[in-house]
Symmetry: C2
């Protein structure tokens, strides 16, 4: 058994309240997944991650990046350590991406053929080759609960023709990813620990900023029958209306009983909006990356129009501000530390600043999704 | 009331088991004090610091550096925020140094006169002047439980004549520090919160590497009658036998009923040795600074001679080592993470590595002192 997905309620706008049962635990959806690039959610301890957010529920599922772990410390090492859960001591569900996005965005001297991508490591210039089969081999060694097909990420902007051609390659690679996965899924490092369970491979819908290609891509992937579907290649600089439109057109085609995952989004108001449209899973480096740059999110005060107000903690107006970041937030940072102290840490480049900012932003994101889940429960008709 | 110091037991070698009652709480001695340079023990959350070490007792007292806080965010700001305890949300005892050591080691273009030291900030080159009176004014604004007289730190090596001349200046400055403190101690930012309590000013014994000057310095300071005495200017590159000898000669002169503090030491075996000789307080950046450089301490295994074994976590031998840093350690890091993971974090320059390494090293230091305290209790005759 890979996963089971139960939808307990659906709203008029398509939002779904669900539960995704995975080998390492159950994830209440819609869910936001913090990104743990190199087997660590940057600056945050695992014991803290387990307790952030309202009711100290913690992060339910986190991501790790295949490209980074493949290069360092290496997937074979992580396999020998029992898989990424044991390696980083994270007992809850995890998801790995295919490595494709980083190969196309971080590495040098890429050469794409039908067979795969040759690239040079951004760390040491060493030469590597990723095919769909190799990406899946690496992801099986890492052993996340959910893994992703290897796809080509088309450059942006791209023409309809270029996007269609790239999408075709992505579909071929999706089929090859699935074939390799089915033949090798028993090799996951925790196979003996959970003999009745295995990983789940998600397909990725591409199609750029073209609604017809998005629909075609979704249809092709649904034919291949994956246990879940991601929508990739969005939030790459296009206007927000386009992102929303592409998601909406894709959701229409995806089977309603399977989990849907929009990759790499977004700001707090975006993840809320997409969840209400029927997206079940999202991930983004934004809460932690923004935190390291001093950008914090808080709930609006009376009179403020945004649903998530952005604060630049280095601004001098916070130098003697004894309030917490967000007086309505129950996170440990807002319960203990002032804006004045957080500004001092940021200005003094003290590492604790990045940690506390990250804990707050992640709490804000998880709380946002917990609120969306409660809202879907109360406003929905039962499924 | 500034402090009271009770000694419950004394060992044959002079080690003392005591309790130091301060405005913000009681410190069991001998004690190791983690250094929180800029109002943060680098990379470690306050809630973690409160629970590190055996029995989750946490750090009992931490240091902050006057020089750093004076320059950024400024002592007047910290005064307006209620003092350094409230500013950083650390409710337990604190100690500030005088700023002298950093003025002499970090700043540029120093000009020493009998009146004080003119220097340029290492941050922005701005010009500043520290006199004994100004150092105490700053330390009163910060509001630590214990503050230190402003002293000259003589360069090393220094001749007997140069050391004696510098020591004379230090004694004059100690008297001026005390006079200013007595006249202004009611200005501490928490005066209203603890109306019956005030800070305590410690004297600092100097005298370089000359036993006769150390004795003379101790005698002069004892005449001035401080509630506690520090031994400064050690661990600046001299051989360990010299450090030990200077401490031993000084302890002979200091009154047995007052707390004794050796500044800026040391390795785990050093703090243990000095505590057994009768030193009650020590501080050092070593556990946290070493942690950031991947140097960890652990208890010896059978057959190892050292009392604290040093591990360089980046070594390849740890790449697949699934053991904790120290199998006998009860810290949260040893309870959860492997050497293999810590090596990965260090090699990948992930900030979590510095945090976890710091938590372990601080736990090791606190556990070392807890063991010394238990040992003093069991082997001592009651006072």
């Amino acid at each position: 058994m890979g996963l089971t997905f139960e939808i307990s309620a659906t709203s008029g706008s398509g939002g779904r309240r669900g539960a995704l049962h995975l080998p390492h635990g159950t994830v209440e959806t819609p869910v936001f997944m913090p990104v743990g690039t190199a087997a660590t959610v940057k600056t945050v301890q695992q014991e803290t991650l387990e307790h952030i957010g309202r009711d100290a529920a913690g992060a339910q599922i986190i991501l790790a990046n295949t490209y980074h772990l493949y290069l360092r410390p290496g997937h074979d090492l992580i396999r020998r350590m029992g898989g990424v859960h044991r390696f980083m001591s994270w007992p809850r569900p995890m998801l790995t991406d295919s490595g494709g996005f980083q190969v196309f965005s971080l590495s040098e001297l890429r050469k794409v053929t039908d067979d795969g991508v040759e690239f040079r490591s951004h760390l040491d210039g060493s030469k590597h080759f990723f095919s769909p089969e190799h990406s899946i081999e690496v992801q099986i060694a890492l052993g996340a609960d959910i893994l992703m097909v290897f796809d080509e990420c088309v450059e942006t902007p791209a023409t309809w023709e270029r996007t269609k051609q790239s999408m075709g390659l992505t579909h071929e690679w999706a089929a090859r990813s699935k074939a390799y996965f089915e033949a090798h899924k028993h090799e996951v490092p925790w196979a003996a620990e959970f003999p009745a369970k295995h990983q789940s491979l998600f397909g990725i819908v591409q199609g750029g900023m073209f609604a017809d290609l998005r629909r075609e891509s979704a249809e092709r992937l649904v034919e291949m029958d994956f246990p879940g579907y991601a929508i990739g290649g969005l939030a790459v600089g296009e206007p927000r209306e386009v992102t929303r439109e592409m998601i909406a057109r894709t959701l229409e085609v995806l089977p309603p009983d399977k989990p849907r995952y929009v990759m790499g989004v977004g700001y707090p108001d975006e993840i809320e909006e997409y969840a209400r449209m029927g997206v079940d899973m999202m991930d983004c480096v934004l809460p932690t990356r923004a935190a390291r740059h001093g950008l914090l999110f808080r709930a609006p005060e009376p009179g403020e129009a945004e649903t998530a107000v952005r604060m630049n903690i280095k601004r001098v107006e916070y130098a003697e501000d004894q309030r917490p970041i967000d007086p309505t937030c129950t996170c440990l940072v807002c319960g203990r530390y002032t804006r004045a102290y957080l500004r001092h840490l940021f200005v003094a480049k003290e590492p604790l600043g990045a940690t506390l900012n990250s804990i707050h932003n992640l709490s804000f994101y998880l709380d946002t999704m917990a609120r969306v889940r409660r809202n879907l429960e109360s406003r929905s008709t039962s499924a």
